[in-house]
Every structure is written in C-alpha cells, then in structure tokens.
Symmetry: C2
Subunit: 408 residues, 2 copies
C-alpha cells in the first residue's frame, strides 16, 4: 500500500499521483514521510547525496526499511548506512543502484553465495556504451556521438559523471565490497573516462581483433584488490564486447561456478522501477521476520577481509594498447622496442600501415605505430611512456589504453 | 552441518566422504536419510524419476525441506511435489535444475517479480550447443561432432535425452510455469532435436546472417502459451547467437525491464554444486520462519492462469528457413513461390548459388533453393511442405528449420 509521497514541486505532479495511487498523503516535506508513524518502508528516489543521506538515516532512526536506487549515496556513505541498518535490524535494499533492471545484486549476494568471487568486469554505464557503440558503428567522433546521445535521451544535459567514469566507479565500488567482503572504497578506485577515445583508435583496435568498452573492473589478487574504471580492449569474440548501445552487462567469475554474465537495460525509468519493485517485494516478504533471516547487505562473507587493501593503479598489471604518431623514418620501431624492453615490457603484436594505406589520413610524413603489449605493471608503463614521449620522432601525445584478456 | 549421506555403492565412496565431512552417518538406504529425525533439509542428487519422487515425498512427509537438481523429476511430477511442499509449508528448492550454475530461477522468481514476462528463450542444453558450435566452427558433421563431445565429456554415453530435446524441454516447462503462472505441462511441449542439422544448412544460414541454436522457447500469446524446443535460426548479432560451446544462456523479456539475459555453465559438478549450495543457504536462512515469508515455488502470480492452454505446435507462428534440393531447371522457383503464396506464406529472402559455386558440392544437375519466409502458421507450412515435397523437381526431403526474430 502506497501511503504517502513527497516530491519537490507537488502542484505539477498532484494529478498524476492521485490518478496512480488514489487519495494518498502528498507533501513537499520529505521528513513527513520518513517520520510517518504508519509507514514501514521508505523508497528513496531523489538525486544528490547529502539530502538523501539525512533522509535515509532519519527513516532508519524511525525504524523504517529503505529501498534506494542512489548509487552515489551508497558509494560515498554506504559503510555508514549499511552499518546503521545492520545495527537496527533493518533492510537497506539497493538493486536498482547497480545496472538498472539487471538483478545483479541478487545474483552476487544470493545466487553465487557458494563462490569465492575472483573477478567482476562490467559495462555498467549505458551513456558511455551508447557513445562508444555509435563511434564504432558510424565511424563518428566523440563529440558527434555525445550530441546524438543527448538528442536521443541516452545522455543527460550535464553528462560529466557518466563520461568521466564516476558513475561506473560508484557501481563497481559497491560490487567490489559485495564480492570481496571489504568496505566500500569509492575514493580509492582508479577512474578514467572516454573523452580521449578517437575513431582512429577504434579502427586499429578492431583490426587487431578487439573492441573497446568502458569497463568497471574489480579483481582479487594475491597482493590486494584491483578496483578501476577505464576504457579497455577486450577480445571481440567475448560476449561483453558485443554488448551494444545503452545496454549493460556484468561478468562475474567465481571459483565454483566459473564465468557467469548478466545483461539488460542499465538505466531509465522502467528498468529502475523493475528493480525497485523487486526490492519492495523482498523487503515486504521479510520485514516482519527476525533480522538474522535477512540477506547480509554486503553478501555472506566467510571472514572479515578489512585489512586487504585496494591496490593503487601503479601496482596494477594489465596489458596495453599503445599508439605512437611518429615521423616516418628509419629506426623508430627499434628505439621504441628497446625502451619498452628496458622497462620489462614485452610486445605482443605490432600494427603499422604504409603511409598511403592508413585507415584515417593524417599529416604527410607521419605514421601510426600501434603496439599491443603483454602484462606489465602500470608504474613501469608510465616510466616507459614518459621516455617514449621524449623521443624527437614521436610527434603527438602517446595514446595508451589498457587491455584485459577476458574470457567468458 | 552435513549429518548423513546415502549413496548406492558406499564402499567406494567412504574414504572421500569421510575426508570431506569427517565422521558422518553413511548408509546405502536413502530412506534412513529422508526419515532421519535430526535432519532439516534433504538434498536429492540422484538420477531417474520414480525413486527420487518417492524419496522427496517421503522427506516432505517427515517435515523436511528439499533441495534438488532433478529437472526430469520436476518436469514430470512438479505439480504434485510443489503442491505437497506448499501444503506442508516446506521449501522445495531447485536452482540447479535449470541452466546449472546460472541463478535463473532466482532472477525469474525474485529479480523480475515486478514484471509480466512475455518471452523466455534459452540455450539450456550444453551438449547440443557444444555439438552445434563444433559443427559450425570446424565444418564437421553431426556424427563427428557428437563423437568429439563424448570424448571431451560434454555428452553422455547415451546422449539421447540431450540430442532429442527432452532435457531442454524439461527445463523450459519449468520456466514456463514460473513465467506465466500455469501448471507445469511437459507433456504438452513440442520438441525436436538436432540430429537432422547438416553442415550445409549451417553454411547457408550463416550466409543469410543467422546462426542456428537449439532454443527452448516459451511465449505468452493472446491465444495461449507457446512451449517448444527445436533448432532455431537467430540473427547472428544477437548475444544468444554468440553463446558457444557447452555454455548456456537464457533471455527473459518482461514488460517493465525489457530484455535481460543470464549466461554461464549449464552443467557439470561444480556449476551444479554452486546452485545447490545457494539453495541450501536460502533454505537455511528461512527454514525457521513462517512459510508465508518464503518465495512461492512457481513465482509470485497476480492471478491463476490455469485455464490458459499450451498451444499445439500447429497453432504456433514462426518464420522459417526452407531448403529444397531441386533439379536445376526452368520454373522451379516460380512453382515453389506459387505454392507458398497459396498457403499465405510470404517469402523474405531467397538464396540460390550457381551450380558450380555451391559451398558444399552435391550431385550434378541439382541445386539448393534456400528460402526464408515471414511469420506463418505451422499448420499452413506443413500443408505447403507436403505439396512442395510432391513436386517432381524436388529430389530430397525438404529441410525446414524455424526462425525467431529475437532481439536482445
């Protein structure tokens, strides 16, 4: 039973709300809802972080279970909010906060509860996936694809949190905590957006048998937890590589189940509603039972792993795509290869077209030298790139995109 | 706590069981387990149907929750078993019975509980998917691919229930009941296996932009429920079309969430164990609470749809791939097209190679006429094929494979 609704500008919405719910309590003051004596469950679907944080805390202080779709809120204050819910024996449900309509939280927390998860890699931001799909399919540049995304409603008027990877980082920080039993550590995640991806790199990458996606990755290594969001090459035969347009997909690898993948719409009113209502049904089904029967907010964990650190990006190992725009002269490849070797970076493959056969024309006398490397440590790659960039034959900023040999 | 284990030949397994569980009760008589006074949950992992049926009923008669991976049991006796469990307030959990390690039951019953599902289409048999992947990738015939599958452990010594679609039909009958709130109706499902698929059809199908998969499909139509398993053309850009080897994937479309897909290993000891343990954790978490807090066995259903019938295959509409091996003479295409038109079947596309350009050589003077049709009713197609088959220019049995314009 929907008892009360609060929203900012009530006048405009009154008709719709009355039509949908009949005669219910309407208020512009959300505190009236979260403190309402007859309400058991509060659904929080407002933006921002501080206002919803206070409302959720106030709702829990009044003994109410909470359903939220707010990933920013949980990424930044989840440790406090989940601890508060736990202490009060309340449920704080958040299926809609990650990958929209895909029941990924249910899969990770319950469906794969037998597993030690070792990797989660996902396309969890529809805006950037739409833009990159359009760039590839229509051979257009970033700015044009962004404009189209905005016209079609796949990008907001201010899309910066999508484009710079913040939104995906919110989500992977939450998934990482559930996968590995660590606190939510949004501030320690590495993030890099898609605005530097150019059509020529997309073309070269395709020629090499890969596709490029904005991936959110978290991985359990012997030395710690990897937690990062960045454009990433993945083999084109991977299912993840074929997730197109605004769709989301999350690959979860466990020690018993192997690879599993979950696919669907990651944003939009309806997919979000699908997850919010599923949460409401879950909470309603269990809100009168003892809290010990609830699913733990951050999944069943065999033991506390609080002391396992999130690895800084410099300590992460990936393989790499490098593109050097160089003057077309003798010895450039030899020098480049020597510098990489100095830094213990081995070359997996090289792509260099004859000057007149390059897929996208550029200045005369310049060619693109494209290199795929084996696994190397980020700090070594940084050092190598600094040195390569100083070579007089390198005419532009070196492009570096990470690469994962994912298998699904 | 694992309290007791029963298996047929104990002597061989004693060492392993004792090593795994310490000193537990071992018996060759399963009745001792299902009647054991100190046991709360029975896990049934034996083959066949009648023996496990009696054991599960006996376990429930003794007030025990049951976890099973036995799809044949549930497809044939699920209506009785779920009703018995319901009446006793017991849980009968079966995540491992469908698509192995993929938490598909959890997704359908809980994750998508806000939705009216309108379609489920899945690759739910790893043996046949492996065989068909090998046939395509290595251009080998069915018998050779089957032999390889058996050598690699992807097909059993007697694989007939996999090959003829029985196993997939078990699974889709269960999914259909959960999706649409109807009784389990395994006996009313249409099933067709893969043994008639030939390399030449795989080649033509690929040329036309499709792949062929053994699909298990259930669909809500105005006139009733479609429930069928058969080889099926799907557009090659679909994610489902790219599910290779022994992997499973299930596409679920709901009215609110749109398309979602779930992917993973569908068979084998470990993926099965992953789902069995997830069920055990679910049951353990809730076995002391009031039964009203359990998830309904066949999902939350808005109202009883018991009177909605499963459509006989003759009333189903799909589109079709047809291959006619014909003598290379004037007028064959015209006659064929006329017969199809007579039966209200419209042609979508035609493929006919010059005799010397056919991808797989055949008898001189014969050519393959390949046709994709629009949606047509199966009964009309049957009539058209009967008439076409009688044409003197048609030299072999006409190949007919159904086709779905799936979108994920």
């Amino acid at each position: 039973v929907v008892r009360a609704v609060s929203r900012r500008n009530l006048t405009a919405a009154k008709k719709i709300l009355n039509k949908a719910f009949g005669s219910i309590e309407l208020t512009e003051n959300p505190l009236e809802v979260v403190r309402h004596p007859d309400i058991d469950i509060v659904v929080e679907l407002i933006g921002g972080v501080e206002t919803p944080k206070n409302l959720v805390l106030e709702a829990m202080a009044h003994g109410k279970h909470v359903v939220t779709a707010n990933k920013a809120l949980l990424a930044e204050h989840g440790n406090l909010l989940f601890a508060t819910a736990q202490a009060q024996g309340l449920m704080l449900a958040f299926e809609a906060a990650i990958a929209g309509g895909i029941p990924i939280i249910k899969a990770v927390r319950e469906g794969l509860s037998a597993n030690h998860i070792h990797l989660i890699a996902g396309i969890v931001n529809g805006t950037t996936n739409f833009i990159m799909s359009e760039m590839r399919n229509k051979s257009i540049d970033f700015a044009t694809a962004l404009k189209q995304a905005q016209e079609l409603g796949f990008a907001e008027a201010d899309p910066s949190f999508d484009l710079d990877g913040t939104d995906a980082t919110h989500k992977i920080s939450l998934l990482s905590a559930m996968a590995f039993g660590i606190p939510i550590q949004f501030s320690k995640a590495y993030k890099e957006g898609i605005s530097n991806i150019s059509p020529i790199d997309i073309k070269y990458i395709e020629t090499l048998g890969y596709r490029i996606k904005l991936l959110a990755i978290t991985k359990r290594m012997d030395t710690g937890i990897e937690l990062r969001v960045h454009p990433c090459l993945i083999p084109s035969e991977c299912l993840l590589a074929n997730v197109e347009g605004p769709m989301n997909a999350v690959l979860v690898q466990g020690d018993i189940v192997g690879s599993t993948m979950y696919y669907g719409q990651g944003a939009g009113g309806n997919p979000t509603a699908s997850s919010v209502i599923a949460d409401l049904i879950d909470v309603t089904r269990l809100h009168t039972v003892d809290p010990e029967h609830h699913v733990p907010h951050l999944a069943f964990q065999p033991k506390a792993l609080n002391d396992i650190k999130v690895l800084p990006i410099e300590e992460v190992q990936t393989s790499y795509y490098l593109r050097l725009r160089v003057t077309n002269q003798i010895g450039v490849l030899a020098t480049t290869a020597a510098i990489l070797a100095e830094h213990q970076i081995s070359i997996e493959s090289v792509l260099q077209f004859e000057e007149d056969k390059t897929p996208i024309p550029h200045n005369t006398g310049e060619v693109d030298l494209v290199i795929l490397t084996n696994y190397a440590q980020e700090s070594m790659m940084n050092a190598a790139i600094t040195k390569l960039q100083q070579l007089p034959s390198v005419c532009h900023k070196i492009v570096r995109i990470r690469k994962e040999e994912l298998q699904d």
